[in-house]
């Protein structure tokens, strides 16, 4: 269990990154960079929630592996299915 201060900081970052996502939509950058930035920020938020709120940081590494395996499977599924179509 961590101190309330840590949770508050994480909560603050989560709110801040959400605001950053909203601001990104309004600025003039290429669509590719917009997608990379916004999905990247979502990834950061997900990792923060998993590591601090779900306490993955304090759990055995085997548990993180258990979670990483389906993520790898999901990534393989997404990449292969997307690139399997001849456009």
């Amino acid at each position: 269990m961590m101190k309330i201060g840590v949770y508050l900081i994480v909560f603050g970052i989560l709110m801040g990154t959400t605001i950053a996502e909203l601001l990104l939509v309004g600025i003039n950058i290429s669509r590719t960079w917009l997608i990379i930035s916004i999905i990247g920020l979502a990834g950061v938020k997900a990792v923060l929630i998993a590591v601090f709120f779900q306490h993955l940081k304090d759990e055995p590494k085997a548990l993180s592996t258990l979670i990483l395996l389906p993520l790898l499977g999901a990534t393989a599924f997404l990449v292969i299915s997307m690139t399997s179509v001849l456009l």
Binding site: I67, M82, V85
Partner: protein, 777 residues
Amino acid sequence: MSHELPPLWSIKRWLFSTNHKDIGVLYLVTSLYFFFAGGVLALLMRTQLFMAENVVLGAGAYNQAVTMHGLIMVLWFLSPFAFGFANYLVPIQIGAKDMAFPRINALSYWFYLVSGIMALSSFFFGSAPDGGWTLYAPLTSSTYSPAIGFNIAAMALLLFVGSITMGTINFIVTIFRMRAPGMKLKHMPMFTWSIFITVGMMLYAFPSLLAGILILLADRTLGTMFFSSIEGGSFLWDHIFWFFGHPEVYIVLFPTLGIICDIIPTFTRRPLYGKKFIVGAMIVAAIVSFIVWGHHMFITGMNPDIIKLFTVSTIAVSLPFDVIVIAVIESLVRSKIKLKAPALFALGAIALFVIGGITGVFNASVALDYHLRGTYWVVSHFHYIMVGTSLIGLMGGLYYWFPKITGRLYNEKIARLHFYISFIGINLLYFPMFALYDMPRRISTYSVESGWQSLNSLATIGAFVFGLAQLLLIYNLVSSMRNGASSGSDPWRGSSLEWATDSPPSAHNFHKMPTVSSSGEVKFVNYEAESDGVAETHLSYWPIIVAFAAFVFLFGVVTSWIILQFGVGLGIIGIYLYARENFVAKEPKSEKWPFEKVNNMKLGVWIFLASEIIFFSALLGAYIFVRANSASWPAPGEFLSLQHGAINTFILLTSSFTAIVALMFAKTNSRRGVVASLLLTLTLGIVFIINKMSEWFELFEHGFVFSSGLPASSYFLITGVHGGHVLIGLFIVIFLLLRTSGKKPVREHSAGIEYFGLYWHFVDIVWVFLFPLFYLI
């Protein structure tokens, strides 16, 4: 309720038992019933194909028979039959008293039973599914399969996946954390290893099927357009289905390989050759099985670069199986194997596996696959694996462990006769099909001029020979159970732990606790006295009631609003009383590496979340797939209101924070703090749902419904599924609020609050991705 198990003849025992051995027997008996149901359908098909231009079954009836035969045999017979053994034997083989979650084990069985009944009942609602067991889109769309029976069968599949998920979590936790003191993973017998690897594959494969069926049902009932649109269509279904479908073949196969690897050392009286390599090969095959699905799609017009990748991965996945077969053969070389029935079945299964395996490698070649795909060649290859290997190996397991389960010996002569006739029948049935490599599969009849009649007639004779041989099995089992000679505890002089206890074992499996030394030697020491004096529970009313409620609910979804409401009511009562029940299942002193610090329940929640990752990934994958293939898509803010999405993001993130605060208050035993933060979490969750509903209603008012194109279809379906998860979370919060307002110190509820938090944060993480994918880009 009494803690002791009622006698064997008591109906109460078979309805309410949570003991793993009773559940195992229930799985074995039920799956044999489905074996005969699926077998009758197969015989009907073979009768129809016996002669050219036969009229025993019409085309429609034939299509239903072929589809349901495949679904029943693969899903409701082969795997559950293996898991009958797994339920009975894995806890004993690892020296545990029971599974980690005995009630969930019972719940998993009852879900399995009612799902099977539901699937078979689809015949009586217009038409059972008739598009093949692969349920290829668009044959399964409401245009081509309009009968309500299809929806019922699809609901049955949802229930079945529920059963699988519960079983999977249970086995993984049990094997990781319930092993006898000193028993390392390397000491586990091969059967337990095979189940361990199998449930790992199930955990990551079945959620994809769940997502596919859910999308299919949405297409059929709500009008979404995933599989009926050109951007998704059959191609999308193929990806989702075969991501599940190819690992499923190994899910069916691996337990048999484990059984063979347990039987052979017992009957050769020497250790298995290369156990480490066999386990390693199984793990490699299990991992690679998730990147070979595309070889089922070679003729779909897929990107040639991806085809090359799948060709390589398909050839690669055959290599670990070579290792396994060579190791088994090496175990047999110069051995004086005792050819008792289990050994005969094991050898037969390996021989047929070689035929089935080699003929599969042909299909890794795109050029050959182009001609062989969709012909009886594939039917034959597939059945040599499914029937020749899996079923024959499992039969070997049945004879091997029959004395352990019943305490009696079977009739050896009849068992051998059963093997020989089955072996002849299988080859007579499937070998001619290789020569039918030019006959399309799934056709209900053929012309005289095709030249296929003689081979088909031979196959049909083989089918009846094989089918009738199974009557010998039933006769042998029933008569031996009544009149067989006493087997003693170890009739085969086996080396794994199940042979070191009574036949059948007592309620807790062992009279003394097995402990394993570093060299693998087993010693038995007295169990420590129960410090709390509370005995473990073996009976519960609620699993069967909850499963029945789920059955009624899903049946109601398809058929009647009143039945649905009854199912919801019964389900809420059942789940509440299930959760409130004082059921005692202890975490014994045991080997728990690598999860010494994560208790059973917490590990179970994490494993469930791992399966949820695949489930949501498959849903999001479908969304990204159709979006990437669409020529145009609404710009951010054009279709969905950014305001709704942003507000809900802030709400859900805040609710995650209040959930973690609730856990902090629970640890410090502050009841007011826990109640306040849980109430805040509940309120935020409710506001999220209200905001989501208002967004939906606004869209409805503007004419956007489920069927208004792919943007609307994907938005409504995926946010709907996520919203359902939020609702489930809110029910859990309400339950926690009720519990924490009781007299117990609130600190005692901190574990429950933590498990809820794990789930709630996961739901939050899913939304973290849904928000940008739907609203921002």
